[in-house]
Symmetry: C2
Subunit: 281 residues, 2 copies
């Protein structure tokens, strides 16, 4: 009875059920219903990473899906209230080896998040990694960070910081930088797949919190992730920790960018991820 | 008679005229018609940057527009044939200081490109730039690159390479890297605005051409740009050259990522831009 086995909270959180498409759905579009999960709650609404994974999931389970995700952009349009939502996934165009998606999350009539995704059938080609995998002590040598008292979703991730923790020693702003280097993985442990990887791409705290810790409003407005591993390569990672490095290049006029990489335990680059973050003051 | 003055080819290329919205348009959506421009032709179809600028233009001229673009993602879904196209821009959600857009380019019934954009009313906040502006000799000290014999659109840009030109000395693959550093601007010169900046974000050649020059098929499938300057700050750049730096982190299984920055003449970071590029072999 595999259905009776307890599911990982991540799988509960991204679970979508087919729904009545309704009158406005375009050809090929499918509507699913989901529900926010308390384990992945943020200060207001859900953790952005779980929203990203849920929107991607709507394309992953769509009957017309082709291949694996290569690119995912999620725009956080407004707060998601605790409760039910719908996700509408539409394959805009399916080519021989690529597929383009539009995905909308709604609560009532209001769009709460939008996404686009590119899927592809991948095959072997020439390969090279130019970026060097950062050096880090083994995960066992580092203390575990617990910031779960502040936001519930962080309890769903094991995080061990090499550099740039959320709660670090007080330093003047001009001696700080926005770089973080950490080991991270799902908690409880869970074999890696692309939905989990999409969520991990948002598990780096917004860099404004690292660079200039103040109690000011902030939030990711748009996030784009590029995936460099297919289903089999991700499955081979199992539940080993990933090494993540994040930094910002510019803060100003209420927004900052953020760039990060997620490296597999074997030193393979699994994803690049970029976002733009709103901050006040 | 300002209307009689000759327009810059860029403004001709991104020109959109209001069209009949048609039966399938959602509330708030506006449909415009445009036409490919021979000056911005690529090997097949138009230069991706001019498509990105054209899709952004549909939101910029939409009567419900709020503020300036902060983030733009363009997905290149299929080839754009020389000729007319439509662009449908829909404000998915307008908040007090942010606005979320979905934009579709079509030829006939077929989606050729899709985009999302986040616009925002920006205001002064704490600011810092962590990334260092790369050092480069003055533009006058460098020779001008002409690759216009290969693809028409490159004649629309003045490009002067400090490092990583398209056509460089032959070297073994393992001695090459994918980094380019160059001065670039519109040709003929044109005062900078966000549409031109969105196009310039794609004016870096796909890194596979720099790292491993081979005659193999390639093409950008998705591009995301973050803009760090508002209308007034871009206008202050005038037609001075921008300094651009681009590199890839990973090539493999038919795709590579690419990251670049565009710096203003005053050393101000104007945009970060990221893309994922298909390549064969």
């Amino acid at each position: 009875m595999p259905d009776a086995a307890p599911r990982h909270p991540f799988d509960e959180a991204i679970h979508l059920a087919p729904a009545d498409p309704g009158p406005g759905t375009v050809p090929g579009g499918r509507v699913y219903t989901g529900h926010t999960h308390p384990a992945y709650a943020n200060m207001v609404g859900p953790f952005g990473g779980i929203t990203a994974a849920t929107l991607l999931q709507a394309a992953l389970i769509h009957p017309q899906r082709l291949g694996d995700p290569v690119a995912l952009t999620v725009n956080f349009a407004g707060p998601v209230a605790d409760g039910p939502f719908t996700v509408e996934a539409t394959p805009l165009r399916t080519n021989r080896s690529t597929q383009h998606w539009a995905i909308l999350q709604r609560q009532g009539e209001e769009v709460t998040s939008s996404a686009t995704a590119v899927f592809a059938l991948r095959r072997d080609t020439w390969a090279a990694t130019e970026l060097a995998c950062p050096e880090a002590p083994p995960i066992e040598a580092l203390p575990r960070t617990d910031v779960g008292a502040i936001v519930p979703w962080t309890r769903q991730y094991e995080m061990r910081f090499v550099h740039g923790p959320l709660i670090g020693p007080a330093r003047p702003d001009d001696e700080r930088d926005s770089r973080s280097l950490l080991w991270l993985r799902d908690e409880p442990q869970r074999p890696l797949d692309v939905a989990a990887l999409a969520a991990l791409c948002d598990a780096f705290f917004p860099r404004i919190l690292i660079r200039r810790p103040r109690r000011v409003p902030f939030g990711t407005v748009s996030m784009t992730s590029y995936f460099h591993a297919d289903t089999a390569q991700l499955a081979a990672q199992g539940s080993q920790p990933l090494l993540g490095e994040a930094r910002a290049s510019h803060f100003g006029r209420g927004y900052h960018d953020q760039t990060a990489e997620l490296w597999g335990a074997d030193g393979r680059l699994l994803a690049n991820t970029h976002q733009v973050v709103y901050f006040k003051e």
